[in-house]
Symmetry: C2
Subunit: 261 residues, 2 copies
């Protein structure tokens, strides 16, 4: 009787111990798998001036395999591979734009311009912008770079909802992309305050903030010392998106545009 009881008790204790250990191990493993699935939030810093590289492949790849079946870009937005004084870039690699890069590598061979076809700070910025799938908010003091203009245009053609807030004075300057974007049907608002609308940020799909000192002009991209931070932070992006709405008042205020455009 006693022998049987001790045997049963011993076996039960061993089983319980093993079961609890196995359970603990399983819970730990499942948590680890879950953590692996949810990649850490993206953060990167791009430095300018950017090396001058050909970005045609990126834009062609977007036209060919865009998020929602891209329509061909208009002729006016054709190749624009210009050479300018050399510059350095400090971009680091990440898995952020890997999908775009694979498409780009096959399209790269199609451009025969003499510019280098490698990666640069501008090409990475373009890839981040082109990664938009549903929305793109732009709050830009100055926007005259043709490559970035074409990227925004392409996204608009592919059904990405784009809202632009810009500065009243700077949007009418020579070479500004704002007029072209507005003519393509993109919502554009300009600030009416006394000071400048001096922000320089973009929000991709309400998930990724691209912000820094860089105005989206070729002069700044190719010549100035600039930085652009790319972060995924729900709280910061929530506040920043609110500021886009309050600046542009897209829903409540009628379209206000500089008569020069």
């Amino acid at each position: 009787m006693w022998r049987l009881r001790w045997q049963t008790l011993g076996l039960a204790a061993v089983s319980l111990g093993l079961a609890l250990e196995t359970l603990g191990f399983l819970v730990g493993w499942l948590r680890q798998q879950r953590r692996r699935r949810h990649r850490p939030p993206r953060r990167e810093v791009l430095f300018f001036p950017s090396q001058v590289t050909c970005t045609e492949a990126l834009l062609q790849a977007q036209r060919q395999g865009g998020p929602q079946g891209a329509a061909p870009a208009p002729a006016a937005a054709g190749p624009d591979c210009r050479r300018s004084p050399g510059a350095t870039a400090g971009a680091a690699t990440s898995a952020a734009v890997a999908a775009a890069q694979t498409t780009v590598s096959s399209a790269a061979s199609s451009c025969l311009c003499p510019l280098p076809h490698g990666e640069s700070s501008l090409s990475r910025l373009l890839q981040y912008v082109l990664s938009a799938r549903s929305s793109l908010e732009l709050c830009l003091f100055a926007f005259s770079n043709p490559q970035l203009g074409r990227a925004v245009h392409l996204l608009h053609q592919q059904g990405v909802r784009i809202r632009v807030v810009t500065d009243c004075d700077y949007m009418a300057l020579n070479g500004s992309q704002i007029g072209r974007l507005r003519k393509a049907g993109i919502q554009v608002r300009h600030d009416q305050g006394a000071g400048y609308m001096h922000h320089k940020f973009a929000i991709v799909d309400k998930k990724m903030l691209i912000t820094g000192s860089l105005n989206w002009t070729t002069q700044a991209i190719q010549n100035n010392r600039e930085n652009v931070l790319i972060v995924e932070d729900e709280e910061v992006i929530g506040k920043t998106i609110y500021s886009v709405g309050s600046l542009g008042q897209f829903e409540d205020r009628p379209l206000i545009l500089n008569p020069m455009l």
Copy 2:
């Protein structure tokens, strides 16, 4: 004999099971405590234009209870409470500058100027800058705001190692703080490239990055639509600090200053 063996085996199994469970619990608890001690990295976004508030209390508090026994500020850097067109701020609260705020609240009563003594985007920016304990790296296109100039001056007097990189053209403009800081013995370098040194960031104690669209000028602070992001990110800050060194070449290159200063 058998009875004794089963009894021993049972007791050993129970003890082992309990010991393993206790160990697992202890390891989990210790990890939780460690996570609690390491607060999440700081991230905040400040919006400008800033409400015009009195920042005298902040600067007085720094003078009185600075990190390493502050010397009195020179008379030229006295109170500077000016009124200007009203503005709004979008600063959010955080525990980041709680220590400074407690000292400030007692010092606030000492300033009798008619400006509001509450918090604003400028006051929060000042608090972040004044939180420097060992080093402050400034990479600023334009720096003319007197309150921020006094803050940097105070930190220098208190032994904080300050390095400034600025733009060649803008540092000689009327009202620039760069000349005053250099005369106080702060290391200043300016970029010699063809483009602008257009960065607008500060790095506090090699741990906190303050970056965005804001030039440190009163015009921008009080009138422009601007944003400033405050982040603690080791990787991003590492890369950004490297850029300060490579821009200014503090260690290798002799002091280069605009002759107008």
